[in-house]
Structure formats: C-alpha cells, structure tokens
Symmetry: C2
Subunit: 370 residues, 2 copies
C-alpha cells in the first residue's frame, strides 16, 4: 500500500465559510508529515482526543508530529462506540482539559471516527466557550461525512445528536493510510455515506460507485482516494451554501430519519451509524417511490449497491408505532410533523412530510425479510 499510495497526489478541498473557512487535506502519509499541520493555530498546548481502539494505532505517531508545533501534547482515550457518545464520556474530555490547566488557546485534535469527531468537536465548542479544533478522521465514514461541515453533538437517551453545536474545525486531515486498519464492518458503514451522495446529488458518481464497489471493498488506494475526494467535494459544496441547515443542507440527512430511529430503537451501538443510515436509505428510497417521485428500478438499483457494499438492507422489526414515535423527535420535525429527505428525481433530494399511512406501509415493507 505505501508504494502505491506514494504516487497519489495530495488533494486540497476548501470549505468556504467566510472567516470560518478551512481546508480538507486528503492523501497518504499525512500523519507523519509535519508540513500537514503547519497552519494550525499556535498554542503551547494540544490535546489529542481519540478512543481506546485508535490510540494504540496512531496517537503516538500524531503526537510526535504535533510536538513540532506544541510544547505539550496530551492524549485522552475515550471508550469506543456510539453507546458512549454521551455526557459522561464528554466529561472525560473536560476533566482532562481542566486537570492539565488547558487554556483558551489549546488546540483539540479529534483522532478517530465519527463518534470521536462529534464529541471532540462539541468539547471544543463548549470548553471555555470555544477553543480551536482539528479533525483527523481515521474511518471512511468520518472522512467522507462527519468530519466535514462542523456538526458536533452527543446523543440523549431520547434522541440521537440532540445536544450539540455548529462549530467548524480549523483543518480536516484525511490520511487514507489509516483506512488500512479499519474493520470490514466499519468500511461498509462508511460506504453507506459515500453511496448517499449519488442519489441526492450526483448520478455520475453513482455510476462510478457501481463500477468500483469491489475495488473500494478491496481498499484499493486510487478508488478510496476518489471516493473520499468526490464525497468531500459534494459535502463542501452543500455546506458552503447552507452552514446551519436552514434548507439545502438537510438533504445530507438522506436515510438519517429512519436511520436514527433504528439506532435509538435498538440501543446506540448495536448497529453502526453507517449501517443504520444505509438501511434508512432503503426506507427513504421506498418512501420516495410510494410518493410517486422515482421508479422502482431506480430504487432497486441503489438498494442492490448498498447490499453489495455489505450493508443490512432489511430494517430491524422495532414495530411501526415505535418507528413513528422515535422519528417524531427528529431535528427536521416541525410543529410535531416528521419530515423526510426523499429523492425527487435521481440525483436530487428534497425535505417534505409524507402521509402517515404511506410511512407505515414503507416501514412494514422494509422490516420484512426479503
């Protein structure tokens, strides 16, 4: 892998948000390359927030590189998993920051997947009312989605990502080498968020994904590099237009209304976030079809790709009423009405309500073993 990846160009994508703009750097060997981090705000102290799985793999290496820029680099390793994305775990970060007398200029580095990024980001947003932070995503899901765009949050027992902040990082560093150590199940979960960009925004990318799904599952560097790059480009374009999700940005939640209900209903951590979103996309696609927006062939095409990616495409049988109850607390809901991201035509999504009878039919259909 290093030999092949050494030939890959380093790629920069800009998130354009006026004074909150920042670059995403995508490439290989970035963790060990001091030049990657040269633009990070100056501070004598830095804290790497990671988890107990990622820490032994990459924390020491990153810490060594960062010691070029920060006099003291502490590391906080959180327990691993979505079930720990709560206040108790967040408090471990605050405890470490305060115990080490970290000041307002301390830079936080989120080294890990989406859970680490969401928690380190919210900690950075709230510690002393805001300190700088850098995303260093080490999972495919985090590289293509959660590390980009400034959404940070923790879960509440009654709803996913209910407590958080819009808070932009100063830099996102996607070192593709870190995907080498990713468990197969996590790779598939990341592919769900990659595939998402096809139906909502870019049918040419969907075509490319269908042709390259085996290369991606085999972790071929060039394929992964293209998937991460194109995903980040699409996300950057959307976030640049609607940072705080007043409208357009909500389409990035395709599959997430159903998906969050699956995660909360099963108990956080049972399914990976990407698995729940993949299955949630199946449900949102079938809803789009029942609403008369897209034809059945298009739905089956995307469902097939999700299956090839190794994702579950049959929804867990939580019961229809429980799904409806869980979806009512979705952040897109307004005045008690659940709103869904649906595909209005291949390559384009909208947010809208749907008749409850249709939603019930979709849930029943999707929970049935095929």
């Amino acid at each position: 892998m290093p030999a092949a990846s050494a030939t890959l160009a380093r790629h920069h994508i800009a998130i354009e948000l006026a004074e909150r703009s920042y670059p995403i750097v995508i490439g290989t060997g970035l963790l060990d390359d001091a030049a990657t981090w040269a633009e990070v705000p100056a501070s004598s102290r830095a804290v790497i927030v990671t988890n107990t799985t990622v820490a032994p793999l990459y924390a020491t290496r990153l810490g060594q590189t960062l010691s070029r820029y920060h006099k003291v680099v502490h590391t906080v390793a959180l327990p691993d998993g979505e079930e720990h994305k709560n206040w108790q775990t967040l408090n471990l970060i605050f405890d470490a920051l305060l115990r080490n007398a970290c000041d307002r200029k301390t830079v936080l580095y989120a080294l890990g997947g989406g859970v680490v990024g969401d928690m380190a980001g919210f900690a950075a947003a709230s510690y002393m009312r805001g300190v700088p932070f850098v995303q260093v995503p080490t999972t495919l899901l985090a590289q293509v989605d959660s590390s980009v765009g400034g959404k940070t949050a923790i879960n509440h027992p009654l709803g996913k990502n209910m407590i958080g902040a819009f808070y932009q990082p100063r830099l996102v560093v996607c070192d593709l080498d870190t995907l080498d150590t990713l468990p197969v199940r996590e790779l598939s979960a990341g592919l769900a968020e990659v595939i998402k960009y096809g139906p909502i925004a870019d049918m040419a990318f969907l075509d490319w994904l269908e042709k390259n799904i085996d290369a991606l599952k085999a972790r071929q560097s060039a394929a992964l590099a293209h998937a991460v790059r194109r995903s980040c480009e699409i996300k950057a374009w959307i976030v640049g237009q609607d940072e705080r999700e007043a409208g357009l940005r909500a389409i990035l939640n395709f599959g997430h209304t159903f998906g969050h209900a699956i995660e909360a209903g099963l108990g956080y951590g049972r399914w990976l976030h990407g698995e729940a979103v993949g299955c949630g996309m199946v449900m949102a696609l079938r809803l789009s079809h029942r609403l008369g927006l897209v034809d059945g062939a298009f739905v089956e095409r995307v469902v097939a790709l999700l299956g090839q990616a190794g994702l579950p495409i049959v929804a867990p049988a939580l019961g229809v009423d429980r799904y409806l109850e869980l979806m009512r607390v979705d952040k897109k809901a307004e005045a008690g009405e659940t709103r869904f991201v649906v595909i209005e035509r291949p390559g384009s999504a909208v947010v809208r309500t749907a008749p409850e009878t249709l939603v019930r039919e979709v849930i029943e259909h999707c929970c049935r073993p095929t």
Copy 2:
C-alpha cells in the same frame, strides 16, 4: 411602587452585533404587556425555563402573556442556586424539551437570575444545535450583567463557567417590577456588578452610585431604572466591540478572577456570585494599588461603596496556595499564567499578569479581618 413606576418611560438599548443584534427593553409592567414580546420569532411552542423560587411568582403571568404568541407554553422549574448550575440540572431542560417533542423553532425563555439565564442560554445554544431564546432577568445581577451579551455556561467541579457557549438571545426584557420580590442579599449581590462599571469604565457613574446607594438599597424605582439602564448601556458598548472576548470584553471580569476562586473554593452556592465578585473587586483593587496603578484613596473609596451596598469585603480564608491553584484554571489564563483585570487609572481597566509575590500579599491582606 406601581404608581411611581407607571411614570417611568420604557427604555430600549440596542446590542449591535450585525445579524445577531437584539434589543434590551427596560421598564415596568413588561411581563404582562403583550406588546413587549411581539418581535419574538414565531413558533407554536415555547418553554419557560425558571427555578422553583421564581416560578410561583412570575411563571404563570409570563405564560399567559406569551400564550398570545405561542400555541403551547411549557414551564421547567429548576432547583434554585449556583450549586445546581451543572450538567445534571441542564439535563432537566433537555429532558423536558425532548419529552414535549420541542422542535428547532421552539423559543426558550429564561425567567430568573443569572443561574437560570446561563443554563437556559446554554441549553438553547446546544438543543438541536441551537434554538432561539429570550432573557427575562428577574434579579438585579441578571438585569445589569449576566442576561446581556450572550455568555452562557455551566460550572465544572474544577472551575466556574468552564463549559458553555457565546450565544446571543433574541431579546432581553428587564421588568423592574420583578426586583420588588428580590431578597436583600440578592439585591446587594446585584449592586456589586453595578458598582463594577464605575472603576472599569465610568467614573461619573461611580459618583452617581455614591450619591444614590441608599436609594438603590431602598429600591426606589427611578434609581433602579437608572442603574439598570446605565449598566446595560456600558455593557452593550463593550460587547458590541468584542463579542467573543478577544480583548476589551475581558475587563467586564473585573473582580471575577478572585471571585470565581472564592465561589469554587467555598463550594458553589455558599456565597452568591455577586458577593464573591464584590469581594473579588476589593482584591483586584488592592492588587491594582500594589502594582502602582491607582492610589490608596481610590481603592478605599470603592471598597467603602461596596461595604455600603451590603457586600462582604473580607475574603474567606481559603489559604493563599488554594487561591493561586483555583485561579490557574481561570479562562483568562494563558500558558499557565494567571491574568487579572486591574484598574490602570480610575475609569479604565486592563488585563495583565502580576508577580506572584504581590498576589500573595494581596490575598493575605484581604483575608485579614479589618
């Protein structure tokens, strides 16, 4: 009181922060006057966040007025006191919001003192990554200081206000009538933050306070109205120049470095925040004098006024080392060095470090009964 206060003009002060600008309305009878609230963002739902002391006094009245603008108005009454300004209490707000399926447009009203405002504000900043909120301060301290400027936070066992956000309200409503029910000790605590504006920004206001301290303690409407108005004007002017405390705004923390150490050292809630700040100002004044910035007569003049306001002017004997330890986690600290707001000349303050020997002498001096 109503007869006299009916003659007071309603006063508007603007906080100028571009798209985050908002008005402070100061006057009497505001809680019951529907016109006060006409500009609040439209939403079918609203939640009044208050505490168990204030709820029986004003929550029903405010709820009735707000029912003109919101279909459903819920009330959450938190336990009263600084010792409850923590995550557990904050979670009571999130629980209520989620249990009542409150959406992203729900407006939060903070009805109470500084603790309620700080917690409701941080809840509004974080719930679904941000919902609109309105400050309805019912204590003098909250009306002249904490409700204005968008600082929100909760305490951490290792430091005061360590976890929070800069998050501006849409409106601040200071109904002077609510000060009628304020306990004497809380009135004095509020006067500490009023007196603060003199030495840091406005010596003419200090002159006025010396002449009117008895009228303020007697809660004469015209005196209270002027004190609230002038305090808000000064705070609005400072916050308008430096919303996120990059520089100037830090002078509003005059007395707070020592004061926070007193609060944390005694245990939150033992002294009121304003009491600790009042005593902290005595310490900061003596430090300013030892640094050779102001003469002893000026120091004694302000200390006398604080004493007349009914504030403690002898610091609790926590031990000098404990003070130094507690002050090291202050948000103004940089690279391990504690920084203090000191008076550089009457009416003007700066933030700077001070030699530890001087700080030690000041603490020892201020802890000695006079």
